[in-house]
Symmetry: C2
Subunit: 497 residues, 2 copies
């Protein structure tokens, strides 16, 4: 009776191993590969993608799925079957040729995007983006379950089970409070930045030390430099990258802590299911919640500055912040800007909300690409209080849409919402949390996350995983409360803001 | 008419890309992978091996091969077809289950080898090795063409077209002269070693500089540390590893030059056939000839010491050899030892010849595993003039046989034979070769090798490739002449030795 299940899992294990191999080669490409290796690496990645796709759509998978008596299986095995069924259905539903058409359209999209940025003319991207949106709508229609809206079918790739009906009101509940907080802070003087020279070697030594404080096991990982920080791998081999700006030690430090949040999640998943669908991360939003909580709720907290400032003083004797409060203030400087990737905690979600509203309208057809720039600029002015000066600082700033990524942006905001929910629940469970953080003592936090998020991995749908961890369906309220409290104290705002 | 050929090549290209991916992950495993990543990497490698094997034995390959009208194709395409036909025949001839049985037997063999070394008792390896030899004979019989001897079928994996009938007399012609040279040198005082402290950073800087002198393009490669130096990759991404002993700068330097010989071959193969059977190296022996010529005929020559000694003086101001002659003498110290991997040029081939004679006898059935140690010890005494003191310094020193590698050892000696042949031909074509080497000017050498070896890649069988490059079928004579000349001069021997 379990024979088709065993065959299915054996097949899946090997597919997952190929995906891991692909991920490691992706890491290599960003960190180690010599410049002239790019063309060959592209061939290798394409061959792996073909092999993985062939396995994922292998008709034997459909056959095993039909023959499995799921009701007779234990719970985790049932969830494995449901997850394989879902990905098999999605992989086999895509019409012949759509993948190739999307690959061509997004290659053209990325080229048009670069040209449009250079010319500061969003109209140059419009034809390519119109084609991409049309193909993504085709994809969404092919993937959609009966009754599922096209945008929801795309969301499902990154945040399984999420829908615009749940997502948009949650983001909307965030928008007005954040916009108000932003305006109140803008009226106050900004605290000083850190200034001085922070040698790269000392920054990397500090990064290694702090990553270990946050639970990163270096015998199952490594830290290298890359243009864009990222995390790759699972289980016994989870690698992170960071970057160094010798004028700003917080860049390397906070990037490293962010990626450590991802890495510790991947290192803590149960070893015995690392190759099964239940053994991976629950969703992109849940993954991002782990990095954001480490970076924002913990590393940028007033209490953690008590632990961190002496470390900086040791590593940078000539240029450390004078005291924990100065460090905390510098780590939480708020400044209105136009670029999402440079945004502070107050502005960041406003960026994401704007993009989510626009991309869901593009996919559901209520917004045309021709009207996108105007819609962007008007929404930006409403939420940020300033006018977008150039397209590169506005609608042309991100590569996501030209690359065909729709439904990805909201996972950043979901990560922040989940992080605030989880941190509030964690605080309720660990009354001495602040005292622990002031000592840099992370074991209680890590045990709590391991039990509720890391070790359950993908055994539950993400919404249920978070709801079980915090005791209710997640809302934006804890995030709003957290931001008001921290920035209210720092900027001397009254509680109503 | 060419449609099945195009399909075959497209299929092969993707298989080769997967093999390259596997090779890069192998590099990562030895250089970058964190310790706890080993188990997952083994799964990834196994999944890739399965995918590669499935592609190599895909029945469509047999179908395309049947439908191709080879006579209508141009020469290089005909050679591609012949090479795919050969590997398809070999891959599909292996009986079901033999691969798995060999994997199990060699895993047990490696464990038994380690235990036998620890206990200094070769008898502990005998049962596992007996099983391995039996399976390798099964494999050889399955692979053998009509009339081909089993050992030749194994040789063919590493040196296509080579046979014991050609190989053993060639090695035998080497044995007596080498043994005589060894005895004559042993009667003379050995020149002094280099002594002093050679900082690792300076050794690596020198290695990078010298690798580039030997033609290594660092924008298509990189140099890292690993326990055992090796070379991995092709075309735009060819990586080498080296090692550092701070008491001995020649270890890192000569390892690097050796691997650079491999790397430059791989970097110089034509870009447009990198994924085709004709676009890879001709054989293991030919590959080894490139590394050996760079390391021995060039780097260890008296004239190159003129270029190298000032470099050492610059990188190691406190511990450089006094003059080029002192460097040359230290680089060519001859000492009787028991371990192949530590052997000098005079002893090295004697080690290989001994193993080749024994392993061919094991496979053709004229030697039983039970009699192997005695056969080793008696042959060693005859060739080296000393008795083997312990099994770990004798029959248990190499991991090759416990790993199931039979037919591999002779490629080391073939590499030396080919290197001497090629270098003699190169010298005849470049009358000012010594003056060039004394200046560290390698372009003429590299152009010559590119035209005759690197760019032809695998368009010709290895024996024909070498014969065309040097004008006759290769023999051991140039190697004997080269060794007698160099060591005769260095040790003051008369010409008859």
């Amino acid at each position: 009776m379990t024979a088709p299940y065993d065959a299915l899992i054996a097949h899946t294990r090997e597919t997952v191993a190929l995906m891991q191999a692909d991920e490691m080669l992706g890491w290599d490409q960003e960190t180690m590969m010599p410049p002239r290796g790019a063309a060959m690496r592209a061939e290798q990645a394409a061959a792996l993608a073909t092999a993985i796709h062939a396995r994922a759509t292998d008709p034997r998978v459909g056959d095993w799925l039909e023959r499995i008596d799921a009701a007779a299986l234990p719970g985790p095995a049932q969830r494995n079957v449901a997850l394989v069924r879902r990905s098999y259905r999605r992989a086999t539903r895509l019409p012949q040729g759509l993948g190739a058409a999307l690959a061509r359209a997004t290659a053209a999209g990325v080229a048009a995007w670069a040209a449009a940025r250079k010319a500061q003319d969003a109209a140059l991207l419009a034809p390519a983006l119109t084609a991409i949106v049309a193909l993504k709508r085709d994809e969404a229609q092919a993937l959609a379950e009966p009754g599922q809206a096209p945008y929801d079918a795309l969301l499902d790739d990154y945040e399984p089970g999420m829908s615009a009906a749940t997502l948009l009101p949650m983001l909307e509940a965030l928008r007005a409070p954040l916009s108000g907080l932003r305006a109140a802070i803008a009226a106050r003087p900004a605290p000083p930045r850190l200034t001085g020279h922070y040698p790269a070697a000392a920054q990397l030594a500090l990064a290694r030390q702090v990553a270990q404080v946050f639970g990163y096991a270096l015998d199952a990982g490594r830290i290298d430099l890359a243009a864009h920080p990222f995390c790759a791998g699972q289980g016994g081999d989870v690698r992170i990258t960071t970057r160094v700006d010798e004028a700003d030690p917080l860049n390397c430090l906070l990037s490293t802590i962010h990626e450590t949040g991802h890495a510790v999640y991947n290192q803590t998943m149960p070893e015995d299911t690392l190759y099964e669908p239940i053994g991976t991360h629950a969703s992109m939003g849940v993954h991002e919640s782990q990095s954001r909580m480490m970076e924002n709720q913990i590393a940028r907290s007033r209490t953690f500055a008590e632990f961190l400032q002496p470390l900086l003083a040791r590593h940078f004797p000539d240029a450390a912040p004078a005291d924990p409060q100065a460090l905390h203030a510098a780590m939480n400087r708020v400044e209105t800007g136009f670029i999402r990737t440079e945004a502070d905690e107050v502005h960041y979600n406003l960026h994401v909300i704007l993009r989510t509203r626009l991309e869901s309208a593009l996919i559901d057809g209520s917004l045309a690409v021709a009207d996108l720039e105007e819609a962007w600029n008007s929404a930006f002015h409403a939420d940020f209080g300033v006018a977008v000066p150039t397209p590169a600082q506005g609608v042309l700033q991100d590569i996501h849409w030209p690359k065909g990524l729709f439904g990805y942006f909201p996972t950043y905001a979901l990560g922040n919402i989940y992080a605030a929910e989880l941190f509030a629940a964690l605080r309720a469970d660990l009354p001495d949390l602040d005292a622990r953080l002031a000592r840099g003592e992370m074991s209680g936090v890590l045990d709590w996350l391991a039990a509720r998020i890391h070790r359950p991995a993908n055994t539950l749908p993400p919404a249920e995983l978070i709801a079980r961890a915090v005791g209710h369906a997640p809302t934006a309220a804890p995030l709003v409360a957290y931001l008001r409290e921290k920035f209210g104290a720092l900027y001397g705002l009254d509680a109503a803001q």
